[in-house]
């Protein structure tokens, strides 16, 4: 490979006609353009990152197949089929863990110094976060589509019609998007990708397993059952399950999140967005480079 920088390259010179940045376009247009540019960059990065692809593509398939085939025969669901019951749980788990990527990748970007380049550009700094969470939403959507396919293969059927099915998918993605912002803020604050990952697993594993994701909460021992019935993950799973028509005939536990899961998830997501979007943006602006 030659490294011929010997001759002055004409293109590196400033030309007389410097582009007048932003002149023809307003703030809103550049904000969208910046957000889209960073999203594009993040999507390229995700696509070229085999670890992420394994996590987002193979892991959901594995979960669907393993859980339905291994436990399918031994876990009984009142008035329903375990595979049908299970799918909402796996969806919930996957989008929850998928959102942690926002924190992990945000921390990684801050560590690698690319953010320093962004900070010297005349871009909207919130675009860095918008681009992050958008890309992770796309990743979660891809995971969803794959899981739906895998679910169909192992025999999963939704039974309340297409509109409610789509509403369920939309609800899961809404939650994942809102939760991405929480994780992104964590990424800015913690700044060590591995720590984020480990901390997220330490919190999210118990949260998903002590919920109604894989078994009916009534099967759990006393205190865990109470926890499960108030667990936000249970609400998410219950909401999806209801919308898919996969609840079975067991009575719904008598707690607010279980009785009104869709409302709980929509309101919860709205609150997360209202609180964590401004927090993350402000924190990002304030946090100095390395």
């Amino acid at each position: 490979m030659t490294t011929d920088l010997d001759r002055p390259p004409p293109a590196a010179r400033p030309t007389g006609d410097r582009p007048a940045p932003d002149a023809p376009r307003g703030v809103v247009a550049t904000w969208f353009s910046d957000g889209w540019t960073v999203t594009w960059r993040n999507l390229l990065k995700l696509r070229r990152n085999p670890e992420v692809m394994v996590f987002a593509v193979l892991q959901p398939i594995m979960f669907v197949v393993l859980f339905s085939q291994v436990y399918g025969g031994s876990i009984r669901i009142d008035g329903g089929d375990y595979t049908d019951y299970l799918m909402a749980g796996i969806f919930g788990q996957t989008v929850l863990f998928g959102s942690t990527f926002s924190g992990y990748l945000m921390a990684q970007d801050l560590k690698e110094g690319l953010i320093d380049r962004f900070r010297t550009l005349p871009m909207h700094s919130s675009a860095v976060l918008v681009g992050r969470t958008n890309a992770d939403l796309v990743l979660n959507t891809v995971s969803m589509v794959i899981m739906i396919g895998a679910g169909a293969v192992v025999g999963w059927r939704f039974s309340d019609g297409v509109p409610r099915f789509l509403a369920g998918v939309g609800l899961l993605l809404l939650f994942s998007y809102a939760f991405s912002w929480v994780m992104a803020l964590l990424g800015i604050m913690v700044r060590t990708p591995e720590v984020i990952n480990n901390a997220a697993f330490m919190v999210l594993f118990p949260l998903t397993f002590i919920s109604n994701a894989f078994v009916q909460s009534s099967n759990l021992p006393g205190p865990l059952e109470v926890f499960a019935n108030w667990n936000p993950v249970s609400a998410l799973v219950q909401a999806a399950r209801e919308l898919f028509g996969n609840t079975g005939s067991a009575p719904v536990p008598d707690t607010f999140p279980m009785q009104h899961p869709v409302l709980t998830v929509v309101a919860g997501s709205a609150v997360m967005l209202a609180v964590f979007v401004p927090l993350a943006v402000a924190r990002f602006r304030r946090s100095s480079s390395r």
């Binding site: 002055p8 590196a12 400033p14 410097r18 940045p21 990065k45 900070r119 010297t120």
Partner: protein, 333 residues
């Protein structure tokens, strides 16, 4: 340095910048009243030992960090009041390459162009121009991950030029480049400056400052301790230096005392202890005197001569440290 007319307008100005980093391990005063001024279409080099505050100064000027106090302006725009405005007219390349490892060289450049709001088509064209200019064509289409340090560096530098900025900040731009690429980059910079770009750079290579910079500021402990053209700085440390290399190390003490008496500054010796040098006022006659005296004393010499001071001498004299010296932990509290 080619003579060129120097405009009076200062494109980069810093006045009494102060910045203290606070962390669990204590406080570090990185900038302690640093001031500088760079006229339009000139190059200013910041020289200084590790930890002197060069990077911090550059980061304040390119809007990456805010100072605790002081004023700064770039192209007439107040850096602290209107950082967004400043970002439109600067290009910056930091001490560590800030490129996306997962994107190709071309994609990196395109992304930066789009974030300058050039529009997608123009951003793509500009990326192509820079790929050609920096001869990255065979590497432009592979993710940066697989690149050598020097290639990364060049993509980073190319990123700084996407917007053809009138003001350029380069923090150690040639660190990690092979000699050929380094000289190539010097040409690129000289060319940009000829066309009106103003450059503030830091460097560990005194030769680079000598060759590129119209003005040099020597920075130590967070402030400028000397400034001027390379020649002015050299004149400041003395006209000539007399250099001796002894055959016997045992003669070092005697030779040192002779040099100390006839020279004007501190006598320095190299690692072997057999090569000594000192600044002198009247070069040739002092050299003659030293040689006669040593000859009378029976001291044998490998080599003796006179040389003009280099920027290394300036550096050592002003900062009392080797440029390459590492760890700089003593900080005035």
């Amino acid at each position: 340095m080619v003579g060129r007319t120097i405009a009076v307008v200062a494109m980069i100005e810093a006045h009494d910048l102060r910045k203290t980093y606070r962390s669990r391990s204590g406080e570090v005063r990185a900038l302690d009243g640093l001031s500088l001024s760079v006229p339009e279409a000139t190059v200013k080099a910041l020289l200084g030992p590790n930890g002197a505050g060069k990077t911090t100064a550059v980061k304040v000027l390119n809007t990456l960090i805010g100072p605790d106090s002081g004023r700064a302006s770039v192209a007439g725009v107040d850096v602290l009041a209107e950082p967004a405005q400043v970002r439109r007219v600067i290009g910056a390349s930091g001490q560590y390459a800030a490129v996306d490892e997962n994107l190709t060289g071309r994609e990196n450049l395109e992304m930066v162009g789009r974030l300058y709001h050039l529009g997608r088509r123009r951003a793509r064209e500009r990326a192509q121009e820079l790929v050609d200019a920096f001869d990255l064509s065979d590497a432009g289409d592979r993710p940066v991950k697989g690149f050598s340090g020097g290639m990364r560096r060049r993509i980073d530098l190319a990123c700084a030029l996407v917007n053809t900025p009138p003001v350029l900040f380069l923090d150690e731009p040639t660190t990690g480049l092979d000699p050929r690429s380094r000289i190539g980059l010097w040409d690129v910079i000289a060319d940009l400056v000829r066309d009106g770009t103003t450059v503030l750079l830091t460097t560990q290579y005194l030769e680079e400052a000598d060759y590129l910079a119209d003005h040099i500021s020597v920075v130590d402990h967070g402030r400028v301790i000397a400034e001027g053209t390379a020649d002015e700085l050299k004149a400041q440390v003395g006209g000539h230096r007399v250099v001796l290399t002894l055959v016997e190390q045992a003669d070092a003490g005697l030779a040192r005392s002779v040099l100390a008496r006839r020279g004007t500054g501190e006598v320095r010796s190299d690692a072997s202890g057999r090569t000594l040098d000192v600044a002198v006022e009247a070069g040739p006659s002092t050299l003659q005197g030293v040689l006669t005296e040593l000859d009378d004393a029976g001291v044998r010499l490998h080599d003796a001569g006179m040389r003009r001071p280099t920027l290394d001498d300036v550096f050592l004299t002003l900062t009392g440290r080797e440029q390459a010296d590492d760890d700089e932990s003593e900080q005035s509290a």
